[in-house]
Amino acid sequence: MRRDRRSNSQAPESDYTADIGIECHIQLKTASKLFCSCSNDSRQEDPNTTVCPVCLGLPGTLPVLNKRAVELAMQAGIALNARVAEHTKFDRKNYFYPDLPKGYQITQYDQPIIGAGEVAVPLENDSFSVRIVRAHMEEDAGKLVHPESADYSLVDLNRAGTPLLEIVSQPDMHSPAQAKAYARELYYRMLYVGASDVDLYHGNMRFDLNVSVRPSGSDRFGTRTEIKNMNSFRNVERAADYEIGRQIQLLENGQLVTQETRGWDEQKTYLMREKEEAEDYRYFPEPDIPPLELDRSKREQVEQELPPLLTHVRHTLRATGLEQTKIEALINQPRLAMLGLSVLEEITDPASRDRIVNWLTSEVVRLLRAEDFDWDDFALSVGQLGELSDMTADDELNSSAAKQVLGEMVTSPRSPRQIAEEKQLIQTSDAGEIESIVDQVIQNNPQAAQDVRDGKSKAIGFLTGEVMKASQGQTNPQIVKDLLEHKLNQ
């Protein structure tokens, strides 16, 4: 393993242009595996328990294509703004490895289900475009486990036969930040369309980077390296950053970048294997699965079943004039974004709408970050939010009381009025009652009252606080303040 120094200290990066392409594998969210009826979710299962003769590759078994996986792949393609093929087929990729039960992987070679596309990726207050080359379906392999200090390896085939979609981009990203933004964009597009659980922790979504650098202004790509298996946006960014720096350093030192496969150990990229002779996988059409014709009716059916796409959500939110960072804050929590859409649809009063969207993008986002928050408990509804907004507008709740109610409503379907009453947060609006409390407070605090009369405005805050205290917070501070000023400045 080579150890390279971080290089961007003295290397003139602006003299170079980086080109980054990403291959992303996502696990499709089907109930069963790609070619058999075994469970597709073995995250909690013991090794070799979600297996059957088909995914074990026993003699005589045949693959039967999971129709749902095909539909999800089509939906993913639509979400990637890419072309869904009319004719597609499966092929065998032949190689030997203990985690590959049949000695070949069923994948798609020259007629992938998804063709070219283009994805607009927001980045800060701007956006850039990444072209999609293709996306194809394939089955995952199992995994090898290497027990410590053992002279053998163990094979776990739970994952074997899991349906994957591999999304291949053009090298259209030119900075680590762009690479990260694209990875994030794929994540949310797949999450919104529902094609995958995109559980990064369990490897539901994995990224391979192709990185090369070239002198700025040159139109010839540099020699690229491939960095395998990043499982977070942050690692995509860091690995790209490291690798760009490493390659520039090599060139600055008069060395060449060699075409090779590298790994990422959270700190640096390291050599896994140099590019040997191109491996010959002897692809040929899978004779056990007839070619697929995805005719118009099939495509229309899939389109009809599409949930709102990320692009649609973003577009709708943008039309309200909401700033991009707030839009993205909502989008980061799909259920919140969906709620936002409903709010925009159902709440017609602009002031109320703005108030609610503001709650969602600030207070609610903050509440959702709480450690013990569980989406299963999420209960917030448009009805609740509308009522809360009305109560605020009618001065029944002050803003801090509204936030308290909101905090409760995030995990409770009860009405805001019920919650506010229970917590005694409703402001007393009976003018006579407030007036008598105000009079009482002025009487009890003659010095402060005099200070206000003398124009020392600070004292009004003190008196307001006293009134609030006396009314147990159920008064509107603004009304109290107005009343005090009125009485003392007469």
């Binding site: 003769p53 074990l56 590759g57 026993l58 005589g60 039967v64 032949n94 000695g103 094979v155 004779p287």
Partner: protein
């Protein structure tokens, strides 16, 4: 020559023929015969014919138990199942989860116990048939003589010095010896029909996809089919009727026709019969050609309109088959790596050594030869010249058939270039491959084909091959029944 094989001294295992399947099942149902009695007779005959080595393993205990159950059912008045109490043997590349291992006649799978059953076996058992055991074959069905079995050759019932044909040689011999009323085989490039012709039985290759391949050890997936070896085309139709139809576990299966039972044989008068010119050339033995012409003349006399037809790409069918089939074989046999099941070399000390030794020792010469050929024709740089070109020619061959079937109801010709050859006679693999020269086009085109016993040449049986368009299995069987009556 006679359509009914004569009793010959060389066929010592030869026993009295079984009645037609429908009749046998009927006798069991009405109590005329007991299932136990039938099973015992089969076991007795199998033991008497042991020298022919057609059977690898009998499941005697299970078969007896099943027969007893059936007799009890009959006694209780329950007579469901068209094959109730009828015993059969299955080629040992069908997965069965009883006593017997499923070996594909290979050391690689010598100890492999299947955890599930083939769809074909399930369907037969559901129809009341009794699985009696497993028959010998060329290793992984690679061969035309059954000599490639890792467990010894099967011998021809007509002459134990000769091969029974292959690769379903054990099933053909068992039916010819009347051990069982029918047996199952697989036909990737003639493997049901060639041994049927060598042993004087009926061998039926259905349209590709008509019978589920699930649970049958794959040879070449795009041409593998499953079919029966029987004593008559009626019986072939009877078994096919049980086997045929879509299977949710095999995506290549197709919808079945309403029935495959032969009622009335087809009308021969006016039937348009094409004689495949390429199957009557110099590469076919003179005796075979003249014997075949004689049978075809019999059809003509019965009123059929016979003409010679050309299938221009048939002449290269064998060549393209030996590109496409090995390509698929090289991939299909990759799973036998010594790691999960099957033959494993414990002396290996690395992953690569495990692969090399387990596969090198577990497989016999012919599978290795085919895997090497297949790997070569799929390799980059050669795939265009071999595999892809072969697929193009295959499409042209299909076109040839489509054209011809626009005019003719059925095509006819000899099943094989010669009658059964001597054990050890064909050491040269290519000479062996050529035995299937006349069978292979039907596999590449996916069309149904049947070999009918047409008599004997110099004391050895030969078969008349009939072919029909894809999906016209019922029509082919009806025609076969009529042809059977006049040859």
């Amino acid at each position: 020559m006679s359509a009914i094989p004569r009793t010959r001294p060389s066929r010592q295992g030869q026993q009295q023929q079984w009645p037609k399947l429908a009749e046998l099942a009927g006798q069991i149902k009405n109590g005329e015969r007991s299932a136990v009695e039938v099973v015992e007779a089969c076991i007795e005959r199998a033991e008497a014919a042991e020298d022919y080595h057609g059977i690898l393993k009998l499941e005697i205990t299970a078969a007896r138990e099943r027969a007893e159950q059936i007799d009890q059912l009959v006694a209780d008045g329950e007579t469901e199942g068209v094959l109730l109490g009828v015993p059969f043997l299955a080629k040992d590349n069908f997965l069965t989860n009883g006593q017997a291992e499923t070996t594909a006649a290979s050391h690689m799978l010598e100890t492999f116990t299947a955890p599930y059953q083939a769809t074909a076996i399930e369907k037969l058992e559901a129809a009341g048939a009794i699985m009696l055991g497993k028959t010998n074959l060329d290793e992984f069905a690679h061969g035309s003589s059954t000599e490639n079995s890792a467990f010894g050759s099967t011998k021809n019932p007509y002459d134990p010095q000769r091969v029974p044909g292959g690769s379903s040689g054990g099933s053909a011999a068992a039916v010819a010896l009347n051990i069982v009323p029918f047996a199952l085989g697989t036909d990737t490039g003639g493997s049901i029909r060639l041994p049927a012709s060598f042993c004087g039985t009926v061998g039926y290759k259905p349209t590709y996809g008509l019978v589920s391949r699930f649970g049958v050890i794959a040879m070449a997936s795009s041409t593998d089919v499953i079919g029966p070896l029987t004593r008559s085309s009626h019986d072939a139709g009877f078994v096919l009727d049980v086997l045929a139809g879509r299977d949710g576990r095999d995506s290549t299966t197709i919808a079945r026709e309403e029935t495959y039972h032969i009622g009335e044989p087809a009308e021969l008068s006016g039937l348009r019969v094409g004689v495949i010119k390429e199957h009557m050339g110099e590469h076919v033995g003179r005796g075979m050609r003249s014997a075949t012409w004689e049978k075809i003349k019999a059809l003509e006399r019965a009123g059929a309109r016979v003409e010679e037809v050309e299938l221009p790409h048939d002449s290269v069918a064998l060549a393209i088959y030996y590109i496409i089939a090995p390509a698929e074989i090289s991939s299909n046999l990759a799973r036998y790596d010594g790691i999960k099941y099957g033959y494993y070399t414990s002396s290996a000390d690395s992953l690569e050594e495990t692969y090399l030794q387990s596969r090198g020792e577990g497989f016999g010469d012919e599978p290795i030869r085919r895997m090497l050929t297949g790997t070569f024709v799929l390799s980059s740089g050669y795939q265009e010249a071999y595999y892809k070109k072969a697929q193009k020619v295959r499409t042209l061959l299909r076109g040839d058939y489509e054209t011809v079937f626009g005019t003719y109801d059925v095509l006819a010709g000899p099943m094989s270039p010669t009658t059964a050859f001597k054990l050890g006679e064909k050491g040269d693999p290519v000479a062996m491959y050529q035995s299937d020269d006349l069978a292979i086009s039907a596999n590449l085109a996916g069309i149904p084909s049947i070999s009918l016993p047409a008599g004997e040449i110099d004391g050895l049986p030969f078969g008349l091959q009939l072919q029909a368009p894809a999906g016209r299995d019922k029509r082919l069987l009806d025609i076969a029944a009529a042809v059977e009556g006049v040859i």
